[in-house]
Every structure is written in structure tokens, then in C-alpha cells.
């Protein structure tokens, strides 16, 4: 593993933390504000679309129905035109060709769709004719479909589909049959489908629809050129039942929707469809404005959200900076505290040395005439030595407190480190002192990047304190676990606990509740600064008289390294 610069690695997690904070904040606000708004907008769009689709469908159906009624009326009028002619008592019978011109004149006066008019007897020969195609006179129509159908049908009139016939031009026939003076007679007129279509279009209320007429056999009779020319087979024949309805072409034919209505007078169906068939969003304009308003709204909310979260993070950073400044001040204060503490802690053993030296001088001085033996002097010399070592301990711990340079960061398994501390140092001492050690190690803990010496020292300090707090018999429990992205090492004891007052000063250098010479008051302050430098923290819970729990929390992110 490479050696990481502790300063460098301390910077990155905090930046990362803020980015993460901003990201999480944004996400949360977007989820709370924007998502419901978007969903609501979508819902209303869909609803609007469905409603408008339905209304368009009904509208189309109404148009088809109206048109079929108009056409029925028109065709009935044409039949009546013919019937009026043939039933005219003034009409000479059989009708002569010269009379026919007058008849045609009367027909064209009622509708310009009439092309010509002809008179047939039972043989099917066109006896008299008036119109643009005089050569049709005397032609035999007995094999024409319409003639046979009229003769065989129960109705006294017929309207044919559009066909080419003898003249080889598209037209359709309206014919009425009568028995005049005991003889079978047929008056037949042909109509121009083009003019008929023009008439239909002149009726049209809306120019947003295309209209066509389909025969029962599924052939276009008239329609808007060039899309639906006559004689083209229609893609879909409307069903006879119901007589008014809607059909939608299959997807392969463009999913076009039609409304249709069957005529009563002819075997024709009127079909209508919207000119702008392919706009899946009908009334696109209003939808567009809805979308624009929604986007504007979303933008406003989004900018508020971004502004708010940035401000929040800014506040957090400011607070952090304030905390850092406070910590710096606290550090300076603790340096002052430290020097006063050092003075006291070192001056006391120095006073002992000075007194012991003075005493030995007294003992050996002729003034008091004590004449001490060597063994009498030894305890005093030992006291001096002990005092010297006390001073050395303090300076050594002070170095740890101040020095942070030769840190070796490596990945360690926290449980192994704890075991080393417990096995190597403590269990032997504790076994004799009637203190039980309980290990509750978590499994699958990620490795932690740390300095073994430093972290060992922290555990040792806390464990030592725990042992000192206990009046045997007692128990120390060591547990490790992961919580909220940190590895936690909890060391709990059944000791005397920590009072409120003590808690406030617990991390202060040279603050100790132990007997003189036993505690330097540096253990926890050193531990605190070590854990702080590793990006972690020490949490303390305590109930006086019951015990304390010291929890060291180390960030896993930091442990994973960069």
C-alpha cells in the first residue's frame, strides 16, 4: 500500500462530502416538489387528450350522420323529380324524344347533377333520350344490371352505384318504373358523380374533414381527388350494423379513424375523417401552451430548489468554517493550558527531586550528625529516579500529542488491531485484577486505513481508563460494528462513570481524576487529537455509578482510501 499524505487525504473527503450533500439535497427537493408536479402535468395532459379525442370522435360521428341525412334527402328529392315527371298526367305516352328535352330541362332546373334522361319500355330499349349522348337512343339496356334489378326489385325505383356503362364515363343511375296504360315503362336519369360530390362538399360544415362515399361492395363512389378516386376499393368496408359508427384502420394502414353512416335511399355509406389525422395531440396549440407553462413552472421551482440547496450547503460550509475557527481557538487555548499543565506536572517531580536531594544533604551534613547508611539513602535515591521518569513520561506523551509527521497509513483489520491490544497488553494485567473482557466483534468490517501505533495507543488509553474506572469485579465489553458509513469501536465498562463536570473537561490536556503519579491527564486528549486527525470522533456516554461507553467512530470512506 502506498503511503498517503494525511493532510491531502483530509481535504478530499470534506469536498466530496459537500458535493454529496448538495446532490442529495437536490435529489430530495426534486423528488418532493418536482416529481408530483410533473406527474400531475402528465396526468392532466393525458386526461385532456382523452377528453379531446372523445369529443373529436363524437364530432366526427355527428358529421357523418348529418351528411348521410343530407344525402338521403338529396337522393329522395331526385327520385321524386323523376316520379313527378313520369306521373305527370299531361305527359304524352309513350314519351317522344322531343318531349324528353323538356323533361331534362325540368330535371336540370331542380338539380344540376342530372346529365341526361331516357325512357325505356319492357324490352329494355331506350325509346326516347335527351342529353349530351344522343347515340344512346334505341340502345338495348335489357342486360344492364340496373334494368334487371329494377324489374325484379320490390321498390318502384332504383339508385345504382357509380359505373361506366355503355358510355364509358363514370355516372350513376336513378330510375323509376311504372305501369302506364297497361304497359311497363321506366324513366331513367343519370347523374354526374363529380357534380354530386361538389354538391356534397358545398354542404360541408367543416373543412377539417374529408368525406367519401363507399358502396356496399366496398368501392369508392365519390371522394376527394386524388386520394379516394372512384372505383378504388376502400381499405375497410364499414359494417352494416350499426348503421352509424366508427372504424379505425389497422396500424399498417396508418391507424386512421373514420366515422360512417349508411344511407337509407342507396346502398352507400358516408365516411368522414379528419383532414389532420396524424396529430396524436389534437388541439396541439393548447397542449403546447400547457407544456410551456409546465416547463416554466418546473424551471422556477427547480431554480428555487437549486438556490435553496446551494444556500443550505453554503450555510453548512460556513458553520464548518466557524467550527474550524473555534477549534483553532480551542487549540490555541489548549496550548496555553498545555504549557501551564506541563509546568505543573514537571515542577512537581522537580520539587520532589529538590527536596530529596536537600534531605540527603541534610542527612549527610555534620550539622545534623545523622551519619546515614547506604540503605537509608536508597529510598530517597529511588524517589529521585522515579520523579525523573515521571518527567520523561510526560515529555514522551507530549511528543505524541504534538508530533504528527511520521504517520504510516496502512489498511488494517480493526478486530485484529483490537485483539493485539487486548492480548498483548491488557489481558495479562486484567486477568489478575478480576476484570472480565467481552468481545463482540462485527464480521465483514471493511479494512481501515490508519496508523497502527496511533490507533493502538487510542485503544490502550481508553481500555486503561476503563480498567482504572472499575473497582473489581467488573466487565469491559469491546464491540465493533458499522453504522452510517463509519466503523465504530465501542468500549464499555462497569466502572464508576463520569460526572457532568468531568465530562466537560475530559479531553483537556493534563486533566485527570486519577491519583497523583498514576495519570498524566494526557491519554484522552492525545486520543482525541489522533482520532480527529483520522477524520473520526470519540463519543462518550456515561451514567455515574454504572459505567461508561467510549465509542470511536472512524469514517469508512476515509478507510477505503482515494
Amino acid at each position: 500500500m502506498e503511503q498517503a499524505n494525511p493532510q491531502g487525504s483530509l481535504e478530499t473527503p470534506s469536498e466530496k462530502y459537500y458535493r454529496e450533500l448538495l446532490r442529495k439535497n437536490l435529489l430530495r427537493l426534486i423528488l418532493t416538489y418536482l416529481l408530483p408536479l410533473i406527474l400531475l402535468t402528465l396526468y392532466f395532459c393525458l386526461l385532456y387528450n382523452a377528453v379531446s379525442r372523445e369529443s373529436r370522435r363524437l364530432h366526427l360521428r355527428t358529421i357523418a350522420e348529418h351528411q348521410s341525412n343530407f344525402l338521403d334527402l338529396f337522393l329522395q328529392e331526385r327520385i321524386i323529380n323523376l316520379a313527378n315527371l313520369i306521373d305527370d298526367p299531361k305527359l304524352p305516352f309513350p314519351i317522344t324524344s322531343s318531349a324528353m328535352a323538356g323533361l331534362l330541362d325540368r330535371l336540370v332546373k331542380s338539380s344540376n347533377t342530372f346529365i341526361d334522361v331516357g325512357f325505356f319500355d319492357s324490352t329494355g330499349i331506350q325509346k326516347a333520350y335527351a342529353g349530351p349522348l344522343p347515340h344512346l337512343e334505341n340502345k338495348n339496356y335489357s342486360h344492364e344490371t340496373w334494368f334487371i334489378a329494377l324489374q325484379a326489385g320490390k321498390d318502384d325505383h332504383i339508385i345504382t352505384d357509380v359505373y361506366l356503362g355503355l358510355r364509358q364515363k363514370p355516372h350513376f343511375t336513378i330510375a323509376v318504373r311504372r305501369i302506364l296504360e297497361g304497359r311497363y315503362a321506366v324513366l331513367r336519369a343519370t347523374l354526374d358523380p363529380q357534380k354530386f360530390y361538389e354538391y356534397i362538399n358545398s354542404l360541408q360544415v367543416s373543412n377539417e374533414v374529408n368525406l367519401a362515399i363507399i358502396s356496399r361492395t366496398g368501392v369508392f363512389q365519390v371522394g376527394p381527388p386524388p386520394m379516394d378516386p372512384p372505383f378504388e376499393p376502400a381499405a375497410l368496408v364499414p359494417p352494416l350494423d350499426p348503421r352509424i359508427g366508427e372504424i379505425t384502420l389497422p396500424r399498417s394502414m396508418g391507424s386512421v379513424s373514420y366515422a360512417y353512416a349508411w344511407l337509407h335511399t342507396a346502398d352507400w355509406a358516408v365516411t368522414v375523417r379528419w383532414v389532420h389525422q396524424h396529430t396524436t395531440w389534437p388541439f396541439f396549440g393548447s397542449i403546447l401552451s400547457l407544456i410551456i407553462i409546465s416547463i416554466a413552472l418546473i424551471m422556477i421551482v427547480l431554480s428555487i430548489i437549486i438556490f435553496r440547496s446551494k444556500k443550505l450547503v453554503q450555510l453548512q460550509i460556513e458553520r464548518e468554517i466557524a467550527t474550524m475557527q473555534f477549534e483553532h481557538a480551542a487549540k490555541l487555548a489548549s496550548v496555553g493550558e498545555l504549557s501551564a499543565g506541563i509546568a505543573h506536572e514537571i515542577n512537581n517531580p522537580l520539587a520532589i527531586i529538590s527536596e530529596e536531594v536537600g534531605l540527603m544533604k541534610d542527612l549527610m551534613s555534620p550539622e545534623f550528625n545523622m551519619q546515614p547508611t547506604f540503605s537509608e539513602l536508597v529510598p530517597h535515591l529511588d524517589n529521585i529516579k522515579e520523579a525523573v521518569f515521571r518527567c520523561r513520561d510526560i515529555t514522551r506523551k507530549l511528543l505524541t500529542f504534538v508530533r504528527k509527521n511520521d504517520i504510516k497509513l496502512q489498511p488494517y483489520d480493526i478486530n485484529t488491531l483490537l485483539d493485539q491490544v487486548l492480548d498483548g497488553l491488557l489481558i495479562r494485567e486484567l486477568a489478575t485484577s478480576n476484570i472480565e473482557i467481552v468481545k463482540n466483534y462485527g464480521s465483514d468490517l471493511p479494512p481501515i486505513i490508519t496508523d497502527a501505533n496511533q490507533i493502538t495507543q487510542v485503544f490502550l488509553n481508553i481500555l486503561n481508563n476503563a480498567a482504572d474506572a472499575i473497582t473489581p469485579p467488573g466487565k469491559i465489553a469491546v464491540s465493533t460494528f458499522c453504522l452510517n458509513g463509519t466503523i465504530r469501536i465501542a468500549i464499555s465498562d462497569t466502572g464508576k462513570g463520569i460526572t457532568r463536570e468531568e465530562m466537560g473537561r475530559i479531553f483537556m490536556p493534563f486533566y485527570t481524576t486519577k491519583e497523583v503519579g498514576k495519570g498524566t491527564g494526557l491519554g484522552l486528549s492525545v486520543s482525541y487529537s489522533i482520532i480527529k486527525s483520522l477524520g473520526g470522533k470519540i463519543e462518550i456516554e456515561s451514567i455515574p455509578g454504572k459505567g461508561s461507553i467510549f465509542t470511536v467512530a472512524l469514517p469508512i470512506k476515509f478507510a477505503e482510501g482515494e
Partner: protein, 162 residues
């Protein structure tokens, strides 16, 4: 009354306490030792002391509190504060609380003896001043009319020291 000067030494550093006590005993002082504040107050109530050497930093009752109690309970005791802390602020505070002197550890024994001498001197001065005041007061009281009220007033002057 013994002809020895009685001194109480209060310090939680047992080794220091033992050594300084022994050295002062060798020099003819009568020494009592207390390793913490509570003991110091208790011992001072049991025996009367002329002087006291007091450490400031102690567990439990600390030096300042002990100083206050001693000065309140014993009219003529002079207290010299001994401490390793060595800051000016604590020296000033101790003087304000009624300590006669302040000696930072470590010190030379001669220094200590010098301070003890001055402290004892101060004690005597105070005692005699008080005595003079009392003598004058007695003379004043004697001028009064009712013997019984004079008796009562005189009883008040007597601080109860046998």
C-alpha cells in the same frame, strides 16, 4: 504550650510531603501532614497551627477552598501556598484569599525558611495588634455603668482561646 512552631503541610504528593516534613522536623518544627483538603481541614480543627504550607492542585477539596476554610476558622494562622503551577494569576488570587505568601515549586529550603520566618512574624504582629486593641477596649468597657453588661461585652472580646 510547646515551644516548637507548629506547621501543617498539605500536599497530595506523598513523597514530597514526607520529605519536606522530615526536613522541617530536623530543623525543630512540629509538623503535621495532610495528603488532601478534607484531612487538612480536619487536622487543623483538632490541633492549632501557627503556619500552613498548602498545595493548590489537589483532588477533592482543592487548595483555594482549603485556604478559605483555614483563614475563616483560624484567626491567626498564616498560609503559604506552594505550587508547581507557577502562574502569576494564581499567586494573585491566593493573596487575595488571604495567603501570606506564594512559593513556586521547586524552591530552595532557605527560601522557604525565609518565608516561614516572615509569616510567623506577621502572625505575631497581628496577634499583638489584636491584643492591644482588646486592651484598649477593656479599658473603655470598664468605664461603663452596669457590671453585668460590662461582663457580657468582655465575654465577646474573648475569642474563646483558652
Amino acid at each position: 504550650m510547646s515551644d516548637k512552631i507548629k506547621i501543617l503541610i498539605v500536599d497530595d504528593e506523598i513523597k514530597f510531603l514526607d520529605t519536606i516534613a522530615r526536613r522541617l522536623e530536623m530543623r525543630g518544627l512540629e509538623v503535621a501532614k495532610a495528603a488532601d483538603g478534607q484531612n487538612a481541614v480536619r487536622i487543623a480543627r483538632e490541633q492549632k497551627f501557627d503556619l500552613a504550607l498548602l498545595d493548590l492542585k489537589m483532588p477533592g477539596l482543592d487548595g483555594r477552598q482549603v485556604l478559605e476554610i483555614l483563614k475563616r476558622e483560624h484567626k491567626f494562622i498564616e498560609v503559604i501556598v506552594l505550587t508547581g503551577h507557577g502562574s502569576l494569576e494564581s499567586a494573585v488570587e491566593c493573596t487575595r484569599l488571604g495567603a501570606f505568601g506564594y512559593l513556586p515549586k521547586p524552591y530552595e529550603l532557605d527560601q522557604l525558611l525565609e518565608v516561614l520566618k516572615e509569616a510567623y512574624q506577621a502572625r505575631l504582629h497581628k496577634k499583638f495588634e489584636a491584643d492591644q486593641e482588646k486592651t484598649a477596649r477593656i479599658a473603655q468597657l470598664a468605664m461603663g455603668s452596669s457590671p453585668l453588661s460590662i461582663l457580657r461585652e468582655m465575654r465577646k472580646l474573648d475569642d474563646g482561646e483558652k
